[in-house]
Symmetry: D4
Amino acid sequence: MGLNVYLSGEIHSDWRDRIIEGAQGLDVTFSSPVTDHAASDDCGVTILGVEESKFWHDRKGAQMNAIRTRKGIADADVVVVRFGDKYKQWNAAFDAGYAAALGKSLIILQPPEHDHALKEVDAAALAVAREPEEVVEIFRYVLTGTLPG
Amino acid sequence: MGLNVYLSGEIHSDWRDRIIEGAQGLDVTFSSPVTDHAASDDCGVTILGVEESKFWHDRKGAQMNAIRTRKGIADADVVVVRFGDKYKQWNAAFDAGYAAALGKSLIILQPPEHDHALKEVDAAALAVAREPEEVVEIFRYVLTGTLPG
Amino acid sequence: MGLNVYLSGEIHSDWRDRIIEGAQGLDVTFSSPVTDHAASDDCGVTILGVEESKFWHDRKGAQMNAIRTRKGIADADVVVVRFGDKYKQWNAAFDAGYAAALGKSLIILQPPEHDHALKEVDAAALAVAREPEEVVEIFRYVLTGTLPG
Amino acid sequence: MGLNVYLSGEIHSDWRDRIIEGAQGLDVTFSSPVTDHAASDDCGVTILGVEESKFWHDRKGAQMNAIRTRKGIADADVVVVRFGDKYKQWNAAFDAGYAAALGKSLIILQPPEHDHALKEVDAAALAVAREPEEVVEIFRYVLTGTLPG
Amino acid sequence: MGLNVYLSGEIHSDWRDRIIEGAQGLDVTFSSPVTDHAASDDCGVTILGVEESKFWHDRKGAQMNAIRTRKGIADADVVVVRFGDKYKQWNAAFDAGYAAALGKSLIILQPPEHDHALKEVDAAALAVAREPEEVVEIFRYVLTGTLPG
Amino acid sequence: MGLNVYLSGEIHSDWRDRIIEGAQGLDVTFSSPVTDHAASDDCGVTILGVEESKFWHDRKGAQMNAIRTRKGIADADVVVVRFGDKYKQWNAAFDAGYAAALGKSLIILQPPEHDHALKEVDAAALAVAREPEEVVEIFRYVLTGTLPG
Amino acid sequence: MGLNVYLSGEIHSDWRDRIIEGAQGLDVTFSSPVTDHAASDDCGVTILGVEESKFWHDRKGAQMNAIRTRKGIADADVVVVRFGDKYKQWNAAFDAGYAAALGKSLIILQPPEHDHALKEVDAAALAVAREPEEVVEIFRYVLTGTLPG
Amino acid sequence: MGLNVYLSGEIHSDWRDRIIEGAQGLDVTFSSPVTDHAASDDCGVTILGVEESKFWHDRKGAQMNAIRTRKGIADADVVVVRFGDKYKQWNAAFDAGYAAALGKSLIILQPPEHDHALKEVDAAALAVAREPEEVVEIFRYVLTGTLPG
């Protein structure tokens, strides 16, 4: 058994690296959105032409990113969604809802101060973790039956 | 043709009332989450017994509310998701993602200051409205072909 | 047994009226797109605000019309798609493909001069008719087992 | 992450070659309909026997081609549909509708003069491109996060 | 609880009447194919025009009948398929396979001499009955919990 | 909003009656398996003929009961599964798994002594209740937003 | 593009061998039912124990064969169903219906004398062939665009 | 043709080893739940933190195990469920129901004394075996057409 894992959410800390590095040696294949914030914002107009309106500038970019996001979630066995300290992160919650409706196994990675605000998201998840290393331990256990320590 | 509409999101302003009242005379059936904030938070422990941990207190409530939310979205032709000024509103974005994955027609109701933060959500929607009255006009047009003015 | 029928395609002749009138007395419920050409083109900007770019003007309208179109096709047992003499009619062919992928029973209504150009569309259909009255006879036969004459 | 891409539509220009060549080095697997116009028209009767009627001649061919087309679309992550200058191209619009109903990511490749006629098709797409090279840049960005220039 | 039942198969004996009459008073809604053999054979050419080839004559009719058959099976909770003494009855077996793939509850009504030939069909069924009256008793039990005698 | 509810599991106590009676006045439609133990065991052979082998005696009955059970679960928004004190109750757990895979909202009704043995079943549920009256209160809250007391 | 093909139906002539041999060099993967008639009839009782009743003897075998048949059809892009001269061949028609409901591309291989009896089956197919060599040519054309001669 | 097989149920005897060993040389890929009872019970709290309540201790573990279980069942062609002598084994019956609803081929492995209690589970299965070696023989027959002896 191997796992396809999509890493959704926060793009301003090193949580993805910590998970990917920690999972070395396990049969896990990772995918994730484009995490270059500027490229992610401007991809649509850079490739398909400038928009005067910021609204349609954003739309073009968001739809281009959706090609990658939907593929990543559709192919995933497990979707990990990370909520961090900054920004609205509505795209993270949107991905969580999207993945839940497709029946994907959801793991939410969040600090305790967000617990109440994330209760509906957590209620659709199979695990709520605090640290990336816990997510790695979940993968290790799910794939090998081995617990830490 | 009639429409089943689920009204998701913000529960602290009168937007639902304005839509429901405005749509009188149209063949629209509305459903929505429980909008009594306190009841929504405490339903789980009130009915099924107290929890010491706030985390599981929230979980019990969120899962009980999910019985209503999932039914509302599953039965809907159109899901309207309102993002307001306060709170994290991750449950609103979660509902939007859930509805999108089920192929529901999405209408997002949002103030312009949230446009950039909601660009991924908007990119999955068929309309982005600013005022509840616009949503009513969409229903009127979709059902009768009549435009305002 | 009753039939839900969606009438897609050409909006510049009276074919819908001839079918609906001819089917009186049969247990058929009809739906169709908005057939007021001007309203259909301008609905998006009229309700949700003017766009400078014609491209986004069209997008707003097309997505608003999609709320009705998708509902009509999703609820239909049979989708009739009419190809007429004028315009590109790519939306008609799009609806036919959409309906085919959902497993709907397709009836195509077309003049013989389009036969070759429509061969892929016809190949997904259960009937190719020339006149609206033939479509009525199909409904009568399917519902009552009665043939004309 | 790799992408399966189906290239639908116009068969009389070199747009497929330009995309396939441009995408060399990217993890993209392409499929497409048979682009030999004569073979595509006559495959049915050549293999399964002559038909006196042109209508059934066309039907036999179109259904044989559908074996390939449906497989190509079903396996695709992304469906690119090209609308050119000539012919009715209803099969291209049919493929777009078929792909949309299956939830595939759609990219439409079209000249500006078709914008209004294609507005319903575009409304279901995640990108509207003008040149094959833009489609290549979309694939590069989606797969590697790299923007041109 | 009520049941939608589709009665597929043999059209040359009175088994449908015996079931429908026997089920009077039970909350069962029946549908069935057109059982007028001549109409069923000729519907296509009668409505849509004569074919020189018998093969396409049959195709036109079979596809028109499929509009009714697919609707009947799609809406059914239970599909009863009757195999009689005469003819090849491949359409009956086709309907049984179609219904099985859709997860419908199958009841097969067959004489013992066909048991071996129908073993694959029976293996997908929830009941194999010998007489129409047994099918009525199944409906009575399923709906009311009452057994005969 | 109304709810279709299927009441699965234990047939030797009055829990169904307590729920149905308690829910009077709420928009809930109930269905359930045949709860006459003897009829449920013998329905197959009584209607379709005696079997020498107890194994096939049981098979015939279980498949006949499945016509009702599958219909009840398929139509349900909420499936309540009651685990009591006696018997193996594997059919109850089977129904819970079946309902979970179909995405139904699950409520499990169980005494605390079964908590550990039911942990996998509970993990797929939206609520775990101890008394039928709690299930009634869940329905009242889900449908009206009203909490007890 | 490669094709997974399931070869259903008649087991008493060499049609499978002729197709498989003819398709050498093409990217086609074949599967088929067990074609050893005696093994296919007796597999259930041989492995799982003797049955006194021929009916359950057959049932045990048919259900064991269904493990292979369902897997073969589920994995197939194309299902070829051969109707020969002998036996009732209801399992072949059942497979055709099952495959049609799953949206598989169907090719029917039949002698002309069965045309009328198979019209409903043919109406769900994308090709009706007379000889195994024609099926090979279809595969060659679908995969390479090359026509014979 | 190869088979993906998920081995669900009893974890206190060597039945999995006997099947896996017996199937050596056949194209079968096996997966199974974590069979270390202590690890399976405590995985949730060991990785994600201690719970005071046994109920939530169990929930955390059961949901973590569900990541593996759902993946195993979702990927399987065949699900074998073993019922042994001890414990309630409701998770085994839950897995059987879950697999049945997904249309997986079910094989139940059970001693005769459980036949009556498992009749509803068996009624959804394609084979009921008594010994692991019989399951191996089923795989050998399904994959190679060869019967023992």
